[in-house]
């Protein structure tokens, strides 16, 4: 039973991380590429870490809760690294694809 739960969690986590990576390859411009890794990956990692938590709690003595810390740090760092990347992309005036709406909302920095 426990093995089933762990396997399902691992599969869910793995597929979300995979989808995030597919987004990284498939999307046409930098700004859209950023959406995959900042979001699809958080849930994927959370599932993988939950699987690790269940596995180590059942196979070893005592509860294993260190994984909560890892997901906490991921939740903190994912938006910040995304923000830093998109900020530098705007600063370098990277092209976004033509059908992007509201490009004039970007203010010029000098």
């Amino acid at each position: 039973m426990i093995e089933w739960i762990i396997s399902i969690l691992l599969l869910i986590g793995g597929s979300f991380v995979l989808v995030g990576s597919i987004g990284l390859v498939k999307m046409p411009d930098f700004f859209m590429r950023l959406h995959g890794p900042t979001k699809a990956t958080t849930l994927g990692m959370a599932s993988l870490l939950t699987a690790a938590m269940v596995f180590f709690s059942t196979t070893q003595a005592g509860l294993s809760v260190k994984e909560i810390l890892i997901s906490l740090f991921l939740l903190l760092t994912a938006p910040i690294s995304g923000y830093m990347m998109i900020k530098s992309a705007i600063h370098h005036k990277l092209d976004s694809i033509e059908r992007t709406k509201g490009k004039d909302n970007i203010e010029d920095d000098c």
Binding site: F16, V19, G20, I22, G23, K26, M27, P28, D29, F31, M32, L34, H35, G36, T38, K39, A40, T42, L43, G44, G62, L63, S64, V65, K66, I68, L69, L75, L76, A78, P79, I80, G82, Y83, I86, K87, I90, S96, I97, R99, T100, K101, G102, K103, N105, I106, E107, D109
Partner: protein
């Protein structure tokens, strides 16, 4: 907005609580020795580092903060599924866009939290905060702050702005009372 803590020996209550929990999690135990050590660290570290830190607004409604946290966690889960569907669907149909959201918040801490939640929730990544200023100056005439976000699939701009303002900004305003 309140900057000063109620007790001088506990300048940042939430940070202390976080330190306490993180120490116990790192050691993976709740034995008496570790709890005592965690309490000592949670009190001493904020006291030692408080001269280096700029004053952050304190959470005034912890209950609401907890509820908001749960809401955001739920949204992160739905966001992941939505973005996964958008990514796997046809790329040609996506209409990305930049949207400027006017904010009522003025202090940098709530704005940072808002920007991070926007990044983690459905289809949006926060890109920039206008006006260009490294730090929002205390006491100066407050300017209208805008948050520039990039949306993966923009359908209704006004509805999106309204959602962000009601769902994420309003609770933050309540929590920090600003």
């Amino acid at each position: 907005m309140r900057l000063e803590a109620r007790f001088t020996w506990l300048p940042t209550p939430v940070l202390s609580l976080l330190l306490f929990i993180v120490w116990l999690l790192l050691n993976n135990s709740v034995s008496a020795g570790h709890i005592v050590l965690a309490v000592i660290l949670a009190i001493v570290i904020p006291l030692v580092v408080s001269p280096f830190r700029t004053k952050q607004p304190l959470i005034i409604k912890p209950g609401l903060a907890l509820r908001h946290l749960l809401l955001v966690l739920y949204d992160i889960v739905t966001a992941n599924v939505q973005v996964a569907i958008l990514i796997l669907g046809p790329t040609r149909k996506l209409t990305p866009g930049f949207v400027k959201v006017p904010l009522d918040l003025t202090h940098s801490t709530p704005i940072t939290i808002l920007a991070s939640t926007v990044s983690l929730t459905p289809g949006t990544v926060s890109a920039e905060i206008y006006p260009w200023s490294e730090n929002l100056i205390e006491g100066a005439e407050p300017e209208q702050v805008y948050l520039l976000i990039h949306v993966l699939n923009l359908t209704d701009e006004q509805a999106l702005i309204k959602t962000i303002k009601q769902r994420y900004e309003a609770p933050l305003k309540e929590i920090f009372k600003c």
